[in-house]
Symmetry: C2
Amino acid sequence: MEAIRARVARRALGTGDRLPSIRAFAATMAVSPSTVVEAYDRLAAEGLIRARQGSGFYVASAPPPLTLAEIGPKLDRALDPFWVSRQSLDAAAAVAKPGCGWLPADWMPNDAIRRALRKVARTDAAILSDYGATRGPLALRHLLARQFATEGVDAGPDGILLTGSGTQAIDLICRFLVRPGETVLVDDPCYFNFQALLRAHQATIVGVPYTPNGPDIERFADVVAQHRPRLYITNSALHNPTGATLSPQAAHRVLTIAAEHGMTIVEDDIFADFEPEPSARLAALDGLSSVIRIGSFSKTLSASIRCGYIAARTDWIEALIDLQVATSFGGVSPVAAELVLAALSDGSYRKHLDGLRRRLNGARRDVADKLERLGISPWMMPRGGFYLWCSLPVGCDSAEVAHAALNHDVVLAPGNVFSVSQNASRYMRFNVAQMGEPRIFEVLARALAATPD
Amino acid sequence: MEAIRARVARRALGTGDRLPSIRAFAATMAVSPSTVVEAYDRLAAEGLIRARQGSGFYVASAPPPLTLAEIGPKLDRALDPFWVSRQSLDAAAAVAKPGCGWLPADWMPNDAIRRALRKVARTDAAILSDYGATRGPLALRHLLARQFATEGVDAGPDGILLTGSGTQAIDLICRFLVRPGETVLVDDPCYFNFQALLRAHQATIVGVPYTPNGPDIERFADVVAQHRPRLYITNSALHNPTGATLSPQAAHRVLTIAAEHGMTIVEDDIFADFEPEPSARLAALDGLSSVIRIGSFSKTLSASIRCGYIAARTDWIEALIDLQVATSFGGVSPVAAELVLAALSDGSYRKHLDGLRRRLNGARRDVADKLERLGISPWMMPRGGFYLWCSLPVGCDSAEVAHAALNHDVVLAPGNVFSVSQNASRYMRFNVAQMGEPRIFEVLARALAATPD
């Protein structure tokens, strides 16, 4: 099986070509004909080859297209990351979305965005019409470099690459570093789209349990030694879905273990602006040597104006630019980057962030109280952000609860969507900013009551 | 070598693991130890394994990152697609860019874009802040569906997926259909970034010579039969770089041959709006059964407001949506889609296109005359668009001419950047809209004179 697979992979055997006869191949491989028959039958079952009546085996016409929903174990559709994403993204206005990963539109700085649009309407024609520089506009990279410097991350403007989104930033890094079949480490639980993205790269995904202070360090060391992952993707600040924060001790241990095994780390800092004060950052401790920092403005400014970034070693940035040109002919839209720059430079933006943090502090406490009354308990109280990772009452399965709630136009995010090991069936991630409607708690109460005890 | 490669690919042998001893593996494979020594030495030369003094062979730490500039034959940097793209994209304002693939900013409908920005500044907060629907806003898909219907392409709004750009549209299709090592067919010459994109997918690229009526059909049939490509990527209308147009007869033959071999076609319609009247379209003849149509608004509206589209079978669209959510969490920016919709719906847009076509007709004739005086002759006179594919005087190498011109701040696009077979060293692609400065022709004349005869 190995030898045939390798020949097909190298195209020594092309589509439609006849495989060696069973007798001949048995002689070549110094095995019995029955071994070859079994190998051919298994390869046919996999769809790589097919038998033609009376004339042997042939390489099958074309491998099937990459349909993400079919890679990996077959999941209940309620536990399929695409189902949760698509239900949330395509939901009608009347649908409540406590399962989604963004703030309601009326929590966002829309006046600043409107001012930015009017400002950009008066800018140079070249910004309105041209593809723009491959790294993205210099002024926004300068602004980010100054901000990163205050956080102890020393990336100059040439160490920053603007991308179409935070997800595209990780995707580009995976294209650069991860080949099909390679192993990537994530937290268990982790942001569900990390798993979807890694499936698209046909990576092997391994998880390590997450604690309130970061990954379980003993398990982390074991998993890295055993699986030698190419990459570890994580959120240090306000981890998704738990809201936990990496402790300085855990950060140091993670970096030491990664260095021992030559593992690169992607630190997704997308929730950093929600922190009351900055926590430990892998990118700052490591000095962007084997840590790549990515982020975007989707959570605090706008998810509609798409702009993400990568901060990394400049030699890696050079290779990432080539990949970004090849696969999207440039990264961020120059108009989008100007809008982000105008909005971030708008005097109101810091106040907006302060207001958001205060509002979210209130919402977290309020929603936690209401959930407690239903027997739903936060795993921990996060320092910031909009997520609560909660356990349901004993005996409740979060996938069943999500199913039941969907019938009443409430999209929830059941725990196993986030879990590589699928051991989070009692957990649910709630977005406190999306839970202003009292009917959500009524639907939840009914859904909990309807699931078997 | 095959057996070891397969074990590493399956991770039966992980990074740092010791390979079987030469004696043991020779016995397993029923070959002589010297055969195993040779195989191990070759694998070590490839970098997959490495020898440790006195203790055998080990799987090398990590495969090197994907650096596009190093895949495929080593090219003179002037013939590297990334070099031409990056020189053009990152060029200072003073640099002339007859080698680039877009119109000057002052040829674009900037007033319509400014009106669109002011209009969007007054729109709903949800459009300004939210991720938006996974297919992209319905109103723009409706507008496109109506336009496609007038061209005989019957895609409903559900058969259209908006993407971040035209290049991202092709990239998404390659993720869906093309696995590493699979073969993709392109025209020779073709848009250079098709090759860069396919390198990023680690596809094997084969080319078929392009004629003034489309691909050379005899060769097309041979190449498809011999290599059985998974995909054929082409421009039917105003082919890049030649400006040629697919004839109805050639279109029919291409579809027939593709159907015989189960080959999917991506028809990149990015230059369609420059045609004086619509030409034959593979997507229209085929009815979007095995043809996928892609395009964008970068060439006629704005390359800065990034928005592309895919029109395809709805079952393929569904799978492409999952892939797009996984790899960029949504496709087009909703703000960008609103800007495109507003500009396309602006009463001035049709007039802008008419004006562009007239202006380009004049520029093509004018530039062709001036080039002829330097002994540079168009391969054919295109019906529209901004490209002229030209042969240089006998004995001139276009890469050398491009090198010489770059020293005088003129970026050119030498023929072999576009050629899979590298047989276009006498050709050069000129963008007539970027050749208003008289000094460009002076620099060209000097560069031609300086190259050996």
